[in-house]
């Protein structure tokens, strides 16, 4: 609990320790989160997602620089994948964030996914809460290089920025379900490369169709499509203007509260699921589970029958 008090008072190492404790689900993690919770709900949580190599980290670096120039404090959570085989991870997002060193108004934390598949780590939303409670006005969450199905960020962030780059695929890719549907702001990065205008046009078409589905009245948010060259910062202030406009839209339209409830509901269900599974597994025991695995693999019994039997135990 001492960590919480110190972290809330602006002690940076206490903040780092607290994040580790929550990431590891260590002693006091849950009590700490309970103590922090009343202090949360202030930050604008902005997700940055997109395929590997589109320039997410570089964009986060530039977004943070512009926000800092405006006097806004920024927390960054950068997620990279853990190896499914060794559990190890190479967290390399800091390489692109050198410019932010030495600024007390910025706090960057790298996180490994530790087995989660939705583009974030299980503890990411809790780490966001810590940075929110610690007073960072904007929390930028950079997901793992996301393909098509890693859409957890939409449930964690108020505003989701989807980053694309030229040459990432044709129109059919853009028509598929997933990442593009969760975009509140669309960025075509590397706009100095050939194919950028084409990429923006394809997105324009897809987004318009999505928007029609949502109705044509003025109250619907239409994701703007913006071009950036994150390497030199071109177009980055415009992205932040769009992010700020989205926040205003969320608040004015009542969608902010709606999203907050949706987020809480997902969180509640996830935690319940995990807790129930943990409790059940503690009762059943690893040995029983292994025995069932053997029987299912040997085709003696199917998985649904096995689950019924386990739950009936």
């Amino acid at each position: 609990m001492e960590l919480v008090t110190k972290a809330l008072a602006g002690h940076r190492y206490a903040l780092a320790r607290l994040i580790s404790c929550i990431e590891d689900d260590g002693t006091d993690a849950r009590a700490s989160l309970a103590a922090l919770y009343p202090h949360t709900g202030q930050a604008h949580v902005v997700g940055v997602t997109g395929a590997p190599g589109t320039g997410k980290s570089t964009l986060v670096n530039e977004l943070t620089k512009v926000l800092r120039a405006q006097g806004t404090t920024v927390g960054v959570v950068a997620v990279d994948p853990s190896s499914p085989f060794t559990g190890g991870a190479l967290l390399g997002d800091r390489v692109r964030m050198r410019d932010l060193a030495g600024d007390p108004g910025v706090f960057i934390r790298s996180m490994a996914t530790r087995g989660s598949l939705g583009g974030l780590a299980r503890a990411t939303s809790d780490v966001v809460k810590v940075l929110d409670a610690a007073g960072f006005a904007v929390v930028l969450v950079e997901t793992v290089g996301a393909g098509q199905a890693e859409v957890d960020i939409a449930r964690t962030a108020h505003t989701t920025v989807v980053v694309e780059a030229p040459g990432m695929g044709d129109e059919v890719q853009a028509l598929k379900a997933g990442l593009l549907e969760i975009a509140d702001v669309l960025v075509v990065n590397k706009a100095d490369r050939p194919g950028a205008a084409q990429a923006a046009r394809v997105l324009e078409m897809v987004i318009h169709r999505n928007a029609f589905r949502g109705g044509t009245d003025d109250n619907v948010w239409r994701p703007p499509i913006l071009k950036t060259i994150a390497l030199d910062g071109s177009g980055v202030p415009e992205v932040l203007e769009a992010v700020a406009a989205h926040r205003e839209y969320l608040q004015a339209s009542g969608t902010w509260a709606e999203r907050e409830r949706a987020r809480v509901e997902t969180e509640l269900r996830n935690v319940l699921q995990q807790e129930l599974l943990d409790r059940l597994m503690a009762r059943v025991g690893e040995e029983q589970v292994r025995a069932w695995v053997e029987r299912i693999a040997a085709r003696e019994v199917d998985v649904y029958t096995a689950v019924q039997a386990i739950l009936g135990m």
Partner: protein, 132 residues
């Protein structure tokens, strides 16, 4: 509780050769650690700040420039001032034998030169970090 070892790999100073740092980062990743890789041209202050924010157990410095006797004491001092005395420091690169005792005296936990076996390095670092 699933506590994972976290280690920062950084290249302080101005030499631009990061091959070795990347090879080690990869080896430590394969050994199951979470490796925060910061890349080239880090100042000691940047390294200490990253170590603090990332709450790492260890810091690995790759130095090929010959400036280790200037850079390493500044990193170790910085860690101490930041209250990170428990963070172990490892060095890889070109370190002449005669500098080894002085570096060990500063508290460096391991020094690895060219040709060192990456698996052995990973094993040694793991052992050092888990010893507390």
């Amino acid at each position: 509780m699933s506590e994972r070892l976290r280690i920062l790999i950084a290249k302080p100073g101005l030499d631009g050769h990061d091959r070795g740092a990347k090879v080690i980062a990869r080896a430590l990743r394969d050994a199951g650690m979470e490796v925060i890789y910061t890349g080239l041209r880090q100042t000691p202050e940047m390294i200490v700040e990253s170590a603090l924010q990332e709450d790492v157990d260890g810091v690995g410095l790759s130095i090929l420039s010959g400036a280790h006797m200037t850079l390493v004491p500044r990193v170790i001092e910085g860690l101490r001032e930041a209250g990170l005395d428990h963070v172990k420091v490892f060095i890889g690169g070109i370190i002449p034998d005669e500098d080894v005792p002085a570096l060990k005296g500063l508290g460096v936990a391991g020094i690895f030169g060219p040709g060192a076996n990456t698996q052995e390095i990973a094993g040694f670092i793991r052992q050092q970090l888990t010893e507390g």
